[in-house]
C-alpha cells in the first residue's frame, strides 16, 4: 500500500508530542493527595468522608452548571479533572465535622466565583479553593474553626456511619466533648508551644485540625511524588518552607517564649499542604524558576507574619491569594535572559576568542 491522502490544511511541526496531558497531571495530583485523604478519613472517621464527597460534588455540579450556561463542551472540560482536584483540596482544608452545607457552598463558590467567572481553567487569577476557604472563614467563622480531636475509624469513641450522617447533616450537634484546639492556637491565645512528643503527633497527624492537613508524613509523601514526577516545580515548596522556617528560627532565637519554634510552624498548620498542593497550583503561580522562588518566599513570609502578628491563627489562604495577585507582576519583572542577548534585550557584544580555550 502506498496510497495516502494528505490533510487539506497543513499542520506545523512538531508532529510528535510528549506524554504529559492535563487529565494525566490532575490524576497524578489526586494520587499524591491520596495519603493525606486516607489519613484524614481514618483519623476523623466517616464524617470526613462525607465532607470530601460533598465538596467534590459541589465543585463538579457547579462546573457542569457553569459550562451548561456558557454552552461549552461539557464532557471535554469536566474530563480535565480540575474540578475534582479543587473539590478535594477544599475538603482537606475544612474542619472534618463541619455541617453539610459548608463544603457544598464552598465548592460551588470556588468554581463559580473562583474560576468560571474568569473564563474557566487557566483564566482565573486566584486559587479557587483558597478563595472559597477565605470566603467561608469570613462568613462562617464559628463553623470554620470547630475543630475536633481525632477519633480514628472503628475506635471506641468514633461515630458509626449512620451517626456520621447525623453529624454532617446536622440532626445532632457535634458533642462538646470532642471540640479541641489546634497546635497553632497558642500563637493567638498564649500558652505552651508543642514540643517533644507532641511534635511527633503533628508528624503523624493525630491532632485536631483541618481534615487533611494534620498529617505531615502523608503530605510529605504526596509532595515527594509530585516533585519526583515533575508535576510541580521544586522551587515553590522549597522557598515557601525555607522562608517560613528561617523567619520562625530567627524570632524563636530572639524570644523563645513568645515566638513558636520553626518545627511547629512547619508541621502545625496548613503550611505543608500549602507548599505542595496549593501554592503549586500552576494557574496562579509564576512561570520562571526565579519567579517561583520569589513567589514561594513571599507566601512563606506572609504565612509567618499573619500567624504571628495577624488576626487569624492560620494565614495560608490569605498568603496564597495575595501572592496569586502578585504573580502577573512577578512574571512581568522576572523573565529569562534570551539566547544571544543581554538581560536588557540588547544583543550580546561580539566577543572573539583568539586564545583557543
Amino acid at each position: 500500500m502506498t496510497s495516502w491522502t494528505p490533510n487539506r490544511s497543513p499542520v506545523a511541526a512538531p508532529h510528535v508530542h510528549g506524554r504529559t496531558a492535563i487529565p494525566q497531571v490532575m490524576r497524578t495530583v489526586l494520587l499524591a493527595l491520596l495519603p493525606a485523604t486516607a489519613t484524614g478519613v481514618w483519623l476523623f472517621g466517616w464524617p470526613a468522608l462525607n465532607m470530601i464527597v460533598l465538596s467534590i460534588a459541589g465543585c463538579v455540579a457547579a462546573e457542569a452548571a457553569a459550562l451548561a450556561i456558557g454552552r461549552r463542551a461539557l464532557a471535554h472540560t469536566l474530563g480535565d479533572g480540575s474540578a475534582v482536584v479543587t473539590g478535594l483540596i477544599l475538603a482537606l482544608c475544612l474542619p472534618p465535622w463541619a455541617p453539610w452545607w459548608l463544603p457544598l457552598l464552598g465548592g460551588a463558590f470556588a468554581i463559580v466565583v473562583g474560576k468560571q467567572v474568569f473564563g474557566g481553567l487557566g483564566q482565573n487569577v486566584l486559587n479557587p479553593a483558597m478563595l472559597a476557604r477565605v470566603a467561608l472563614l469570613v462568613s462562617f467563622p464559628l463553623e470554620m474553626t470547630a475543630w475536633v480531636a481525632p477519633q480514628p475509624l472503628f475506635s471506641a469513641a468514633a461515630p458509626g456511619f449512620l451517626e456520621s450522617l447525623a453529624i454532617t447533616f446536622g440532626a445532632v450537634a457535634a458533642p462538646d466533648a470532642v471540640s479541641a484546639a489546634t497546635a497553632l492556637a497558642p500563637l493567638k491565645t498564649g500558652g505552651e508551644f508543642a514540643a517533644g512528643p507532641a511534635l511527633i503527633a503533628l508528624g503523624l497527624g493525630t491532632v485536631p485540625g483541618s481534615l487533611g492537613e494534620t498529617s505531615a508524613l502523608a503530605l510529605l509523601a504526596g509532595g515527594a511524588l509530585l516533585i519526583a514526577r515533575r508535576i510541580v516545580p521544586w522551587q515553590i515548596p522549597a522557598a515557601l518552607l525555607g522562608t517560613l522556617a528561617l523567619l520562625a528560627a530567627i524570632f524563636n532565637q530572639i524570644d523563645p517564649a513568645h515566638y513558636a519554634p520553626p518545627l511547629l510552624h512547619l508541621l502545625g498548620g496548613s503550611a505543608l499542604m500549602c507548599a505542595f498542593f496549593i501554592a503549586t497550583d500552576p494557574v496562579g503561580a509564576p512561570v520562571t524558576p526565579s519567579g517561583r522562588l520569589i513567589f514561594g518566599a513571599g507566601i512563606g513570609a506572609l504565612i509567618y507574619a499573619i500567624r504571628t502578628w495577624g488576626g487569624y491563627p492560620e494565614g495560608v489562604a490569605f498568603a496564597v491569594l495575595l501572592l496569586n495577585a502578585a504573580t502577573p507582576l512577578i512574571d512581568h519583572l522576572v523573565r529569562p535572559r534570551r539566547y544571544g542577548r543581554l538581560r536588557s534585550g540588547a544583543p550580546l557584544p561580539v566577543i572573539r576568542r583568539e586564545d583557543g580555550r
Partner: protein, 179 residues
C-alpha cells in the same frame, strides 16, 4: 467618634491623592504630539481617495475627530488600522478586521487603447507607457488603490490579489480548538 475619624481620614486621603495626581499630570504629563500629524504619518500618503476623503490629511483629521473608523484605509490593511488605533487610543480586535491583502492593478493587454488616462490618475506613478501604446503596471510601486480602474474608458484594468507563491506563502492562524 470612630465614624467621624474614618470619614475625615478618607476625605483627607482623597484630597492629598487628588492633589498628587494633579501635580503628576502637570510635571510628568507626556507631551502629546499633534494627533493628526501622527495619523497622517501612519497613513500611506498616496492620496488615493479610497477612504472617501479627498486625501490622506483629510482622512487623518476625520480619524482624529472620531468621525471615521481606524479601519478606513483599505490599502493600509490591518497593520495601519492597528497603528491608528494605538495613536488615538482605542481598542480593537485586529483579528476581526477583514484584511483583503494587498491588491495590484493589471492592464488587460487586449483592452488597452493607450489613452494614458490611467497614467495621469495614478497617485504613485506606477503605470508606464505613452499615448497610443500599451500601458503596464509596476507591481513594486502599485498600491492597489483602483484609481486607474475607475478612469479606464474600456474597463481594461483589473485589481488582483498578489498570487501566493512559495516565497510569500505564510502559515495560517491555527484554530483555537474546543476549550
Amino acid at each position: 467618634m470612630m465614624m467621624i475619624v474614618s470619614v475625615a481620614a478618607v476625605a483627607a486621603l482623597g484630597l492629598v491623592l487628588g492633589w498628587l495626581l494633579g501635580l503628576a499630570s502637570q510635571w510628568l504629563g507626556a507631551t502629546v504630539d499633534p494627533v493628526v500629524e501622527r495619523i497622517t504619518e501612519a497613513l500611506p500618503g498616496s492620496q488615493c481617495g479610497q477612504c472617501g476623503y479627498p486625501g490622506c490629511a483629510q482622512a487623518a483629521a476625520a480619524v482624529a475627530a472620531g468621525s471615521a473608523p481606524v479601519t478606513l484605509c483599505p490599502p493600509g490593511g490591518r497593520a495601519v488600522a492597528e497603528k491608528l488605533a494605538e495613536i488615538i487610543g482605542t481598542a480593537f480586535d485586529p483579528g476581526n478586521v477583514p484584511d483583503r491583502g494587498p491588491l495590484l492593478a493589471r492592464v488587460r493587454t487586449d483592452y488597452c487603447i493607450g489613452c494614458s488616462r490611467c497614467i495621469k490618475s495614478c497617485p504613485t506613478d506606477a503605470i508606464l507607457g505613452a499615448t497610443k501604446q500599451l500601458h503596464v503596471v509596476l507591481g513594486e510601486a502599485c498600491i492597489g488603490c483602483g484609481a486607474c480602474a475607475e478612469v479606464c474608458p474600456t474597463g481594461g484594468i483589473d485589481l488582483e490579489g498578489i498570487p501566493v507563491t512559495l516565497r510569500n506563502w505564510r502559515w495560517h492562524k491555527p484554530g483555537l480548538g474546543k476549550a
